[in-house]
Symmetry: C2
Subunit: 343 residues, 2 copies
Amino acid sequence: MIQYNVAMYVREISEVALIARLAKQIATATSSSTANGSASSKIIVTIGDDTAAWIGSGETELLTTDTVVQGVHFTPETGTWQTVGWKGLTSNLSDIASMGGIPTYAVVSLGLPRDMLVLDVENLYMGLLEAANTYGITIVGGDIVASPVFFMAIAQTGITQQAPMLRSEARPGDQIAVTGLLGGSAAGLAILLGEMTAKEEDPQQLIETHQQPRPRIKEGQILVKAGVTCATDVSDGLLINLGTICASSGHAARVDTTLVPIHPEATKAFPKKALSMALNGGEDYELLFTASPDIMTMLQGRLEHGLHIIGMIMDSTPSQVYLFDGNGEPVELPNTGWDHFRR
Amino acid sequence: MIQYNVAMYVREISEVALIARLAKQIATATSSSTANGSASSKIIVTIGDDTAAWIGSGETELLTTDTVVQGVHFTPETGTWQTVGWKGLTSNLSDIASMGGIPTYAVVSLGLPRDMLVLDVENLYMGLLEAANTYGITIVGGDIVASPVFFMAIAQTGITQQAPMLRSEARPGDQIAVTGLLGGSAAGLAILLGEMTAKEEDPQQLIETHQQPRPRIKEGQILVKAGVTCATDVSDGLLINLGTICASSGHAARVDTTLVPIHPEATKAFPKKALSMALNGGEDYELLFTASPDIMTMLQGRLEHGLHIIGMIMDSTPSQVYLFDGNGEPVELPNTGWDHFRR
């Protein structure tokens, strides 16, 4: 039986805690059931990683879903309809990338307000189709319903011949690395929101980093083929996503903040905030992974946007992330990653 | 280039017309692209049928998505959270059934208002899991986001060893049949909304028909193995869904309204409205299919909830549905099926 406080509202529980409760409810119900063709016995990954994974008839199948709501995830200030389409699809592709998979097909569910322009729906699809064509996937269906607020839920399939990279596979002694620069998306968002005045002359590069992320699909495949077994993507923020790896793996992480690859344009535009943007900003969609030093050495020079080692997995408790500066002194930073219900 | 009226709003275009525009946009963009591992060349069914279908590594893979929004598809009067969960998943399973497929895995995207009770989310999941266990599928993941209005978008996978049944495969001379009773869901909804006073003493059976539909998964597999090649499910209403078969196949349909299997409880409760409920009500989730008289004869007695022949496919234009009564006299009924944006 699931214990609950009958008076508890969604706003009073963290997203992580709510998902954990539902995952427990699902696990309890599923263990007592018999699935089609032993479907449940073929499952490799269920709730709690970037995608689900199961053994198909010839390869491992991946499935993920990611949703955006107008006013929650974007506003007219932070994205055009075209970039909302691009970003909505590429955030799903990033989940497939973080498992080491090849994305294949997508279905798109749209909730459309009656006073939305048809032209805007077509612009949204222009962005979706640009992303689909850029990354070789096909939109094969969807659903369109009326809704008082615009939302888009995409489900994306993928395949892989290798064992998917998981959040739970970090091992003490592993080095921690990211596939590219961090903080650019948060800096672009800050410029779009006018929350801070960028010192930079041309903010377009940061804005594009926020609006048109590039999922690291090729990199994911290089990693998995090189023997990397633990990865996720930097969607919620480096500290949040690394914290998830620690919690799933049951180990702690030590990060040297001077090694974090801050987007140089973010540093130029927001010199005081750039480190925090890189640690907490999220939506950078770089891959965050752990592997032995041998594998890291082998990977050097093989990733298009670099391989940036930022720390190490430690065999200590609690399973959390510890920050240090270049002199080995602890760094205290508030953890301000994204939580859908509390913020 | 797609032609548009820049001032046209979503409310001014039918759902069918909007989907047709987007499908054209997708087809144009996709034909010029190169998909992963020739993914696009493996597609059997894309936008415009109950599910998408493509050739997997060992069998045909199916993918569909279906979405509900509070206040649009249900209200506190028309369903409990548990039945919203059940119905949300089974409407997806019905799409898999109408292709003749075996449903396998689902991902659930939820948009949750901050003032929703956690208990209600758990009740929703209770309904989802009851349906999942009843029909042997596993919920393997999802996404939870904050939203000013509750919505749920489910993506459901399935497999089949046979060629999927399509809306476009009706042939002149085919008989038209449904797998069970119609109008019960609309009658149950009318009772729940208090729009009409049911004459019946116990409305529970009709209410359950509306709130807890039973997808015809077994029936779909029996049909496809018997050689049926054309099917859909009665989700929007018999006339709408048969109209879609006609439009997709390029033929017309003749229906004898005296042969339509009206739910007997609907007839008892709403004697004057029951035929209209059976023709236009929707959400009955019976399978609607066409096949040669030989195949129909072979299927007699093999379907748990009956095989009700209601008419015939004709080689005439325009591709629409013509209604006749038992004496062969034309019947005029307004087509009042569901359109998300206009009604």
